[in-house]
């Protein structure tokens, strides 16, 4: 897992978000254990209370589950749910922002569409 933090979002939300990303990418697969609060706290020098707060968001969303005495594990449908969730917010999170920047740069809709096609093919 690789954490990159920004200063403009509350830290516990970033922790939840980054673990979600790791599950989405399949770094932690269903039924697998994710790193413990202590491990994340020590590795990234973050107060464990903050890490726990982030973990609890994922527990509430049923994306990870606690097994007593063992640790936190990825739930069965976790990856699919994260995918659905992120697809649903994609427009809000990325498309609107992209269009806004495109307008600032005087790019027409056709030009933007062309660029998106180019980006899609490139990959």
């Amino acid at each position: 897992m690789y954490f990159k933090f920004d200063e403009r979002t509350p830290l516990y939300l970033q922790i939840a978000d980054q673990i979600e990303s790791a599950i989405l990418k399949g770094i932690y697969k269903k039924g697998q254990q994710i790193p413990s609060t202590t491990e994340i706290s020590k590795e990234y020098r973050i107060n464990p209370a903050t890490v726990l707060k982030g973990m609890n968001i994922l527990v509430e969303k049923n994306l990870i589950e606690k097994k007593r005495g063992l640790g936190m594990f990825v739930t069965q449908n976790s990856q699919d749910e994260i995918l659905e969730d992120r697809q649903a917010t994609f427009y809000q999170d990325y498309v609107l922002k992209t269009v806004e920047v495109a307008k600032e740069l005087n790019l027409s809709l056709e030009e933007l569409q062309e660029l998106i096609e180019r980006g899609y093919q490139n990959d």
Partner: protein, 282 residues
Amino acid sequence: MTEIIINNIQKNYKDKKVLKHISTKFEPGKIYGLLGRNGAGKSTLMNLISNREFPTSGEMTINGETVTENEKSQAHIYLSSEKNYFSKDFKVKKIFKSAESFYGEFDWDLATKMIDRFGLDINSKIGGLSTGYNSITKLIIALCLPVDFIFLDEPILGLDANHRDLFYEFLMETYATRPRTFVIATHIIEEMEKIFEHIILIKNGEIIDDGDVEDLLNSSVMLEGDSEKIAAIEDNFNVFYKHSFTGISKLYVKNKVDEAQLPEGISVNKLNLQEYFVGRTN
């Protein structure tokens, strides 16, 4: 559970009021950042709690018992500060052993790990250590003693970036193994923001903020935009800091702000702890 309660403490040096009606508490198992500019009173407060100085008035208790001139209370507390209280001719390992005999226990497993990873020569005399290794020696003592309240006054003085990072790692490790209260006074706010759970901010001898990091940072935002636009809305907010540069102004406000209700061109930004600190103490 044990907690330290500070009730209306005053400290005067002759006519100068260094601390004015300070009231707060230190809860068990939390990491506190004690922040303030030079001369704000951070060290004085720590010295009072650990009996290196005595308050002019007010009271401090731990478990309901006074902290002042009370050996039983002081056994729960350790202060590591810039001042050295041991002879310069003592070797590092002798300092560790005397700390052990004074407090009854010493975590030699952790100490050995720290000595090894910091590369500290325990046969050096204290007087011969660099500022950095002097700090490292004190950090090892602080982390290895069996106390519930550890006060660290500028703990990372003279430590290079690698050693500071190593200290944060050990701090998180020992805190997880044995949760206890750390109160850390430092000017290196940016690096320690993620480690603190709670902040006590002192300005001119008074506590101006006392709360969880997340809550403090949620209480305020920075508005940024064209100086004229900012000037037009300034009066609607509880402004605690303003900075302008080439026609752009930044306004730090203690309000919850909805960007949608502001004129176009003004952005709402979250403050980090360092920015918040600078704004609050300027």
